[in-house]
């Protein structure tokens, strides 16, 4: 679409952080001498989203992946760093602003039940951006456009009159997609779009998204906790842990030979459809409290390879042999054991 653009990346993120102040009221802190409590949801992350490709972010709940999506859409203001959409700095732009740029990036949310206003009819839900961004002038135009979009995502034109509660979860997610497509966006941010859906419906939605990407040449930022889904969707993959990207690179390389113990842990825990896999050693520990993250490498309490360096020094992302980057002292020191699991049939 935007072939005139020089840059191969549609979006670039540089050292973006988001800190939330979750302190108690001032007086309490003063009296009980408690420090300010800062939750660092996103910690100086940088990445580029290649045009027309899918950039996937994977991690467990609380790792900051959803915050990233909201930062990009302007729903949160970054505490530091820059976000550029093509050549425009949108770091501190409010959501929906500037309209000319924002209409080129849209978002699909996780919860198909919460992301559609239950009191609105489908026509109004999907028509909202058409009016806000001035895409359609008349009511008739809106109706026509809505019906077209509904068909495009596999629903009926007649569904425009219905309310969200008359649809199943999968159908609602189609509505969300239709709404996002109204502005013909070039970048679609998908925040766990299928995690609330049943498997058989998930495959429909994932297929639909792939089809739409092929049809419109959109770029995706695809956020998920499910490595198997990411395997299917991603071109480039970033693994997040406690607000940081611990590994990023082309999907194939990461899946073939993950260069971070956490990535490996995630791979281990993907349930395999081969019977009896549970006998393998389960991983210990849980994700620590992000308010007081561990020192050094935040993964060290759960890492079988952790040593003194890991406990004190925070590792940097470094390019590994295969071209992916990972932030791991063990990998730096070559202490990372070789990786064998690759479940390709």
């Amino acid at each position: 679409m935007n072939d005139q653009s020089q840059s191969p990346d549609i979006l670039s993120v540089r050292k973006v952080s988001k800190r939330f102040d979750i302190s108690e009221p001032f007086l309490n802190r003063l009296l009980e001498r408690r420090p300010k409590r800062i939750l660092t949801a996103v910690d100086e992350i940088s990445f580029d989203v290649p045009r027309g490709k899918t950039f996937a972010v994977v991690g467990e709940s609380g790792c900051g992946k959803s915050t990233v999506a909201r930062l990009l859409m302007g729903l949160h203001t970054p505490s530091g760093g820059t976000i550029r959409f093509e050549d425009s700095d949108i770091t501190h732009m409010a959501p929906g602003k500037p309209p000319a740029l924002r209409r080129r990036m849209q978002m699909i949310f996780q919860d198909p039940f919460a992301s559609l206003n239950p009191r609105w009819r489908v026509r109004d839900i999907i028509g909202e951006p058409l009016k806000n961004f001035g895409i359609c002038k008349t009511r008739a135009e809106v109706t026509q456009e809505v019906e077209k979009l509904l068909v495009q995502v596999g629903l009926n034109a007649a569904d425009a009159k219905k309310f969200p509660h008359e649809f199943s979860g999968g159908q609602r997610q189609r509505l969300s997609i239709a709404r996002a497509l109204t502005t013909r966006p070039e970048l679609l941010i998908c925040d766990e779009p299928t995690s609330a859906l049943d498997v058989s419906v998930q495959s429909q939605i994932l297929n639909l998204m792939k089809d739409l990407q092929d049809e419109f040449g959109m770029s995706y930022i695809f956020i998920s906790h499910d490595l198997a889904v990411v395997w299917y969707m991603a071109d480039v993959l970033a693994v997040m842990y406690l607000g940081k990207i611990v590994e990023v690179g082309p999907k194939e390389q990461i899946f073939e030979n993950p260069q971070h113990p956490y990535t490996r842990l995630l791979m281990e825990t993907v349930p395999k459809l081969t019977v009896g896999g549970i006998e393998r050693a389960p991983v210990s520990g849980e994700v620590p409290n992000p308010i007081s993250p561990p020192s050094g490498c935040s993964f060290h309490p759960r890492c079988p390879l952790a040593n003194e360096t890991c406990r004190t020094v925070s590792p940097e992302l470094k390019v590994r042999a295969q071209g992916a980057q990972s932030a791991c002292h063990a990998a730096d020191a070559g202490r990372l054991p070789s990786w064998t699991r690759m479940a390709a049939e």
């Binding site: 939330f20 979750i22 108690e24 009221p25 007086l27 309490n28 003063l30 009296l31 009980e32 939750l39 609380g62 849980e286 409290n289 992000p290 308010i291 007081s292």
Partner: protein, 328 residues
């Protein structure tokens, strides 16, 4: 905890300041005390003289400052009507109201909670349905009507219980109590029933609603799945969770009791603060009105602070440091 307490105190001070200001506004706007103080045939000069003496001619700000400064020391001046320091009057009346409210509150709790639990546990029984309707009736009939009906029935028709006053009281060093004489106890019955009725129905309905809510909670379902006996399920597991929110509301209701005591005391000639207040309203006895308002809001703030503290004690989720729990 300490911080919490201090925050409450700051908040309370703020509330009290606002209340005091409102009380002062009354001085400005309510009836002129002069008419009550002087005989009907006093001269214009006498009136002007008195205005001057009472400082009613001073600038607004001066009067306000003086009022707040005095109020902070518990000095609300002299009652226009009773010719005595307001603080003495209120101190004298406080026991009557306190005992009335105490008995009414106990009555409301002692009946409201069991009835609420009963209706929650047997939501479809006809007794429960009946109680539901009766409780609605309880909050639909104005309290003054109930009071008058009580007098009509128990005093005039049956002649069982006194229709006015506190009966015999015993002075325990500044605190007069009606608990120690038979006539004092008898005199308490009707007024406290009238006062308690409304609150009782409120509490009953509240307990019922909360209990039904709690009984639907996952942890009750899980406890039921573990085969815990109903008795334990209802009266241990569910009840404590039910009563925590009820406690807060009851704190607010206690203030409501103090306020509604105005009506009860009016009907029963109960020599308490509320009666003093409504008489003060009729006589434009502003110092008494102001002091009453400030005192009631003070009591209210104290009660609610205590309730909040209790809340911290009873509810472990608030008691323990949050940091051990997993954050966001």
């Amino acid at each position: 905890m300490f911080a919490f307490l201090l925050r409450r105190i700051v908040q309370a001070a703020l509330v009290m300041l606002v209340v005091a200001s409102i009380a002062f506004l009354m001085f400005r706007f309510l009836g002129d005390p002069i008419s009550n103080l002087l005989p009907e045939d006093a001269t214009v000069e006498e009136r002007a003289d008195l205005r001057e003496k009472m400082g009613l001619n001073d600038p607004f700000v001066v009067q306000y400052g003086r009022f707040i400064a005095n109020a902070a020391q518990g000095d609300f001046g002299q009652s226009y009507r009773n010719n005595r320091p307001v603080s003495d009057l209120l101190a004298e009346r406080f026991p009557a109201t306190a005992e009335l409210v105490l008995v009414a509150a106990s009555l409301a709790l002692a009946l409201g909670i069991p009835l609420g639990i009963y209706t929650a546990l047997n939501p479809r029984g006809w007794i429960s349905q009946g109680l539901q309707v009766v409780s609605l009736l309880g909050i639909s009939v104005p309290t003054f009507v109930t009071g008058i009906l009580l007098i009509l029935l128990f005093s005039v028709t049956l002649g069982w219980l006194p229709s006015f006053g506190r009966g015999g009281v015993v002075d325990l060093g500044g605190w007069t109590t009606g608990f120690l004489t038979l006539s004092g106890l008898k005199a308490l019955i009707l007024p406290s029933i009238m006062l308690a009725l409304f609150q009782m129905t409120l509490i009953m309905r509240l307990v019922r609603a909360e209990m039904l809510e709690v009984l639907r909670a996952d942890y009750i379902k899980f406890a039921r799945a573990r085969g815990m006996p109903n008795r334990m399920l209802h009266f241990k597991y569910a009840l404590k969770n039910t009563l925590i929110p009820v406690m807060t509301i009851f704190g607010l209701q206690l203030g409501g009791l103090i306020a509604f005591a105005i009506i009860t005391e009016t009907v029963f000639q109960w020599p308490g603060m509320g009666f003093l207040f409504i008489q003060a309203v009729n006589f434009s006895d502003v110092p008494v009105m102001a002091a009453y308002l400030v005192l009631v809001s003070f009591l209210f703030v104290v009660i609610n602070t205590i309730v909040d503290l209790l809340y911290h004690v009873v509810d472990p989720r608030l008691r323990v440091e949050k940091s051990t729990a997993r954050g966001v």
